[in-house]
């Protein structure tokens, strides 16, 4: 088991290194324009541009840039480890910026994830158990609505109704839980629900289908033949076996949201990582984009590792393979 984890960790490093290379290639070798132009003021002279190039390191050949970039990433720079460099715009540390924004995104994801997992799996189990009844139809109707409703529309409607009209919740923006716990919750409740809704719908459908498939297995019949109560049959024998794909999805979904909760963050003006990344991309502030992408890919790689380890705990066949 330890060997397995060690092996997987090595792989994670390899994957991150590859992502690093690809990210570098995409953003540094194929830029949409010369980033230096943005900082040189109007009608820059060649000398000014050259100076900026030099300051940003853009005057070196690409492999030198990549070498420095990788070295900084793995060893650290003046802002510590991992070295992500500084922004073009403010010449401030990318790392500091990410550290400042990350908690917002992570708290958004955490709250939404708990919500969608609980709601989604419950609805899925309910509709599998009450298959072909009105409960099942309602649940699957909800899933369909949840999957097909655009997040930005749902976000705006939620804001309009619950903030502007009813005044039940806080509005847009982010309030730190340290400054005001109630303000934090009041501002986060709508983003949580809106983000969770889509995923809850997916998870409900997935749970229902997996569980129905599992309940048709021979070992479920064995469990019933033992005389176990139906509840044990469904929750212990059925749900356990249908949990594996859900765990996989859950890990990956969370990881993907690290840099990908863009719409929710934008609608609710929570200036998290996704929001940061999209704005920086628009302003061609490439080091920030690279930083967020790297963080996202590390998150995905780690999530994969955690999922695989969980897998081994859930399914002994994996453990002893």
């Amino acid at each position: 088991m330890t060997l397995y984890i060690a092996r997987r960790l090595v792989w994670t490093v390899v994957v991150v290194a590859c992502v690093l290379a690809i990210t570098f290639a995409v953003f540094y070798l194929l830029p949409a324009g010369d980033p230096a132009l943005r900082f040189a003021g109007k009608n820059p002279t060649d000398a000014e541009l050259a100076l900026i190039h030099q300051r940003l390191g853009l005057d070196k050949p690409w492999y030198v840039q990549f070498g420095k970039f990788s070295k900084n990433f793995f060893v650290g720079d003046q802002f510590g480890w991992p070295g992500l460099g500084y922004t073009y715009a403010g010449q401030t540390s990318v790392k500091a910026l990410i550290v400042q924004r990350a908690p917002r995104t992570l708290l958004l994801i955490a709250g939404a994830a708990i919500l969608w997992l609980v709601v989604g799996v419950s609805i899925g189990v309910l509709s599998a158990v009450k298959r072909r009844t009105i409960v099942d139809r309602l649940a699957m109707g909800f899933a369909l609505v949840g999957i097909s409703t655009p997040v930005f529309w749902l976000g705006l409607m939620a804001l309009y109704i619950f903030w502007r009209q009813l005044g039940w919740t806080g509005g847009t923006g982010y309030v730190s839980p340290i400054d005001s716990p109630t303000g934090f919750i009041s501002h986060m409740i709508l983003p949580w629900i809106v983000l969770a809704l889509l995923y809850a719908a997916f998870y409900a459908r997935m749970t229902r289908n997996n569980l129905l498939e599992t309940l048709g297995e021979d070992y479920i019949r064995t469990a019933r033949a033992k005389g176990l109560p139906e509840r044990t049959v469904i929750f212990k024998h059925g749900l356990r076996a249908s949990l594996t794909p859900i765990v996989t999805m859950f890990g990956l979904d969370i990881a993907l949201l690290v840099g990908g909760a863009i719409i929710t963050e934008s609608v609710f003006n929570i200036q998290g990582l996704g929001y940061l990344a999209i704005n920086s991309a628009l302003q061609q502030d490439l080091p920030i984009v690279v930083g967020v992408v790297l963080l996202g890919s590390v998150a995905v790689a780690l999530a994969n590792l955690i999922v695989d380890i969980l897998y081994a705990f859930i399914d002994p066949r994996v453990r002893y393979a």
Binding site: D218, T222, P229, P316
Partner: protein, 345 residues
């Protein structure tokens, strides 16, 4: 564990199972009646779709009640299992009536230890500690011939071979000393040498625990070696039902003859096998009259019209469902007469 004085454990009368589907009603089991006594092995023989497995699932209450129409009576210890509330039936299932299924690869939960799955069967009907349940599981695994039962109990099913899994299934069935053991094709998925081990184990278990065994199989050889009584089923109905000795020495139904004729013999190479022509009928629309008549070489006028009832043609004969004259049944049956191994010894 009280039973009626004549030793009858199970009395099934007029069991009928229907599955409504979008294409029509599947007439899976029609008017099946039989009984099982202590120490008896009832062999239920038939091909796929004959209703042999479905009738046992119906008895065990393992068919989805919402999607199945079941009628008839299944009397066990003075109670009708078909009208019992689900929760009461659950207390009989796995305790008084236990079941072993065909595919030991699919019948154990892949994510729980073998010992835990057996221990779970213990605690399902008995208020004992986890340790006691586990000890009972180990004891039973040892009893059914799993070597190093104590450590093997901690294994997961995929670490067991097919034969060991089937032994574990039998151990699980024996947890509460049931009075009836239903084995649904218990050896079909196993290799022949392992199959022999499992058949012997079931026989041992029957003798030791003095229980009644229902053995569902398509293999006449298995039945011939183990059963006291045989029920031959076709298209959801009983074709012939009687003591095993009679069924093999003097089979009365053309379908049984067909089965015996088409069985490849290991004793000698036959110049030509005699198959039953055609295929089993659709249970959505079984043929009128005798369900076997379209494939029967002995059919005559009444067969496509009147369904022959399951009756004994003579007091000393066993019941069959066939219009043929008794003389012909005797003549044709005698050609297929088989002296069973157990009878020869």
């Amino acid at each position: 564990m009280s039973t009626s004085h004549d030793g009858t454990l199970l009395d099934v009368r007029g069991l009928t199972v229907r599955f409504p589907t979008s294409d029509g009603v599947v007439q899976a089991v029609s008017d099946v009646s039989f009984s099982l006594s202590r120490g008896e092995t009832l062999g239920v023989v038939g091909e796929s779709g004959s209703g042999k497995s479905v009738s046992n699932l119906a008895i065990m209450g393992l068919l989805n009640r919402q999607r199945t129409a079941i009628s008839g009576q299944v009397e066990f210890m003075g109670r009708d299992l078909l009208t019992l509330p689900p929760d009461d039936l659950r207390h009989i299932r796995g305790k008084d009536i236990a079941m072993v299924f065909q595919d030991p690869f699919a019948c154990l939960h892949p994510m729980y230890r073998v010992g835990a799955q057996i221990a779970e069967a213990v605690t399902a009907h008995q208020d004992v500690s986890k340790d006691a349940a586990w000890a009972r599981a180990v004891e039973l695994l040892d009893h059914v011939g799993i070597p190093n039962a104590k450590s093997r109990a901690r294994d997961y099913p995929h670490q067991f071979s097919g034969g060991m899994r089937q032994r574990a299934m039998i151990a699980m069935a024996l947890v509460h000393n049931p009075s009836i053991l239903i084995c649904d094709e218990p050896t079909t998925a196993l290799d022949v040498t392992v199959q022999a081990q499992i058949i012997e184990l079931i026989e041992e278990v029957k003798r030791e625990f003095d229980i009644g065994v229902i053995l569902v199989t398509h293999d006449l050889g298995v039945v011939a070696e183990t059963a006291n009584a045989v029920m031959v089923m076709y298209a959801g109905r009983i074709m012939e039902y009687g003591p095993a000795r009679q069924i093999f020495e003097q089979p009365q139904h053309p379908y049984t003859w067909g089965l015996l004729d088409s069985m490849p013999s290991i004793e000698r190479r036959l110049t030509a096998l005699v198959p039953i022509e055609g295929s089993p009928p659709s249970l959505l629309a079984p043929p009128p009259g005798c369900p076997f008549h379209p494939r029967c070489r002995y059919r005559f006028e009444p067969c496509p019209v009147d369904r022959p009832p399951l009756v004994s043609p003579l007091p000393e004969a066993h019941p069959d469902a066939c219009h043929l004259a008794w003389d012909e049944k005797v003549r044709e049956g005698a050609k297929r007469s088989v002296t069973r191994l157990g009878d020869a010894a």
